[in-house]
Subunit: 207 residues, 4 copies
Amino acid sequence: MSKSRVQPLKQPSQQRSKLTVQAILEAAIHVFDEFGYAAGTTSRIASRAGVSIGSLYQYFPNKDSILTALAEQHMAEVLALSVRLLETLRTSTQALEPVLHDIVGHMIALHENNPGLHKLLYEEGLLPAQLRQTAKQAEQFLIEEVGRCLSLRPDVAAVADRQLQAYFVVHAIEHFTHRLVIDRAPMEFQLRGKAELVSMLQRYLRA
Amino acid sequence: MSKSRVQPLKQPSQQRSKLTVQAILEAAIHVFDEFGYAAGTTSRIASRAGVSIGSLYQYFPNKDSILTALAEQHMAEVLALSVRLLETLRTSTQALEPVLHDIVGHMIALHENNPGLHKLLYEEGLLPAQLRQTAKQAEQFLIEEVGRCLSLRPDVAAVADRQLQAYFVVHAIEHFTHRLVIDRAPMEFQLRGKAELVSMLQRYLRA
Amino acid sequence: MSKSRVQPLKQPSQQRSKLTVQAILEAAIHVFDEFGYAAGTTSRIASRAGVSIGSLYQYFPNKDSILTALAEQHMAEVLALSVRLLETLRTSTQALEPVLHDIVGHMIALHENNPGLHKLLYEEGLLPAQLRQTAKQAEQFLIEEVGRCLSLRPDVAAVADRQLQAYFVVHAIEHFTHRLVIDRAPMEFQLRGKAELVSMLQRYLRA
Amino acid sequence: MSKSRVQPLKQPSQQRSKLTVQAILEAAIHVFDEFGYAAGTTSRIASRAGVSIGSLYQYFPNKDSILTALAEQHMAEVLALSVRLLETLRTSTQALEPVLHDIVGHMIALHENNPGLHKLLYEEGLLPAQLRQTAKQAEQFLIEEVGRCLSLRPDVAAVADRQLQAYFVVHAIEHFTHRLVIDRAPMEFQLRGKAELVSMLQRYLRA
DNA sequence: AATGAATGAGGCTTCATTCAT
DNA sequence: TATGAATGAAGCCTCATTCAT
């Protein structure tokens, strides 16, 4: 509202910058996914992005910062999804199982592409301390929220330490979601695995 | 005659070699644990081992082979422990919970030291294809054995796909074991986590 | 508009690249000539070229490829010269001796600089198999052409095996050419040697 | 004379030393022949000789000295052979051709084994300056002797510079001898080549 | 801003040589 | 004297990053 649309004339540079940054991140996703972090060289990323190495360094101060940006992007997605799913969990009147199925399904969908990258992001100790800190805080927030939701549902057993339970739920979902995706198991196994994960969670949680 | 035979006169050279190899592996454990694989340089390993870089390469053809040796060593330990634990699982007449407690406890103990290294070993795609193959076979064997044991126990629910169940059990133990150790949570949390893991497994499995 | 077009506006980058490559090859010639292949290290070449080691590897994938480039360059020169000389041999109506003198003179001139390098190129088994193959084929072609030329001249004796004769001619020229240059004999000796080589060839060939 | 032969009792060590040295040189011949100088490592030589690397360095101060010893050995053989052949050349009343045939045949025979080694010895600039000096002197001596012999034969043309002629004879024999042997040409070609070499020399020399 | 050539620290590895046993 | 483990200088090469154009 504040900015009038009178001058569409200028800002091509900012526009272009964004495109370039996007192209680089896009390229980085594929390169890291395919080659891993160490072998995913900056020049590979630049050339895949169709951009010169110099331009890459115009937008990212160093290699780490590219991974960091990717991680932040992914964290945002996960958080956004989580918020939506929590909402479902909170408001849904369905039985536990279909809700869990929905959650797991969405989580798998989110990690289905570029599993190699997600492996990097979650498993290798590459992220800078600060971001790791942030991630932990987000996780902590998520765990707390999940804990609250679980407490609200009558079909979930009462437990002494709700936080701990939520911790296990969150990590079980995270881990097996990755596993199923990363192991590149045949689709048939992935489907059965998904069902079994839901089953495990359900048995773990049910009243 | 001059030299007393109290210490059996073993070939000093072989003795010394073994010590050197041990020192290198020992150092590699710590260096990889602390710096990760990429930043765990061979010269760091050598110098931490108190050995020249030349000696390192006298016993290991390249950097990879050091990690491989560590992996093989660890796999052997895991396998040996697994065999013992399976035996317990099979023969024990105890309730499920204490048996699971025992298993989880031993597994945590095995990974308690040098969690960073175990992360490398399990998570990063660094191991040579052949070893990864071997590891997968060992895991498959373990899963099958676990499946068999579960089938034998009357206190474990009958399920349609025992293999899948065993897969989840094995991986849940593996993952949370690492998690608890890697997160370097306070001991108090680790203890509660251990109990909760057992609880989760028990609920998942119980008839 | 502001910039005059006196100097055609060629891409400065490509220009610069070419200069760098030239500088590296130039330096390599001198370094290999002076130190031989083993002691002619890449960093010596780079520093003599006034270029960083990184630049060297930007244009040559490895040390071998530098020598290979030099060899290809030299082969091209030799071939070009040979073609010209063959033409002379074919068309000249002069007596054999002055023609031979001309040939030998040109060959010596071609090898006069950097004899150490030519030694490497011809004598040590350093060239990659493929290039050696090519060189052999070029030599074979040359021998055949020389054979044909010899057959055409009435002042050359008829012989049973023209190819073999040509083989000896080519190698005698090649060898003594190198010899005279490599032995770094005093100029006076080189001149007499040149004459004697011609004399030997003439006696060998004359009808 | 000075040392009485009364005590054959001691010197087993000297005896053994000689054997060891011989074994090392023998091994070095094969290793250099097969791998060349750079890749013919001292430990390869030692192990092929069935001797520890330490022992090798007991008898040879460094790697170069092994090659030097080999070169000296070969030079001695060449010289001894040359002396015998010169004698023949001097005293023989045969025609030039059979004498040359004999000479070339013997020279080829001397280089037939381990051509790779001879390539090293003659072609690569590996020999220490001092030895190269010695070799040159020996060659000079040989050339002079050959020159003298040629002068004595009535079937050899009188020439202005006998030394130069001898230089060409000696080097032509040396070079083509190596070529025929090193190129590992098929035996059939080697035979024809040998005949052609003799032919070339004969035409070069004949009155 | 964009380009890509240039940089050089630093990693892995080899191998001649030394030295403790 | 023999052994072979240990040494470490030095070579090749990579790749994140800088900088001239």
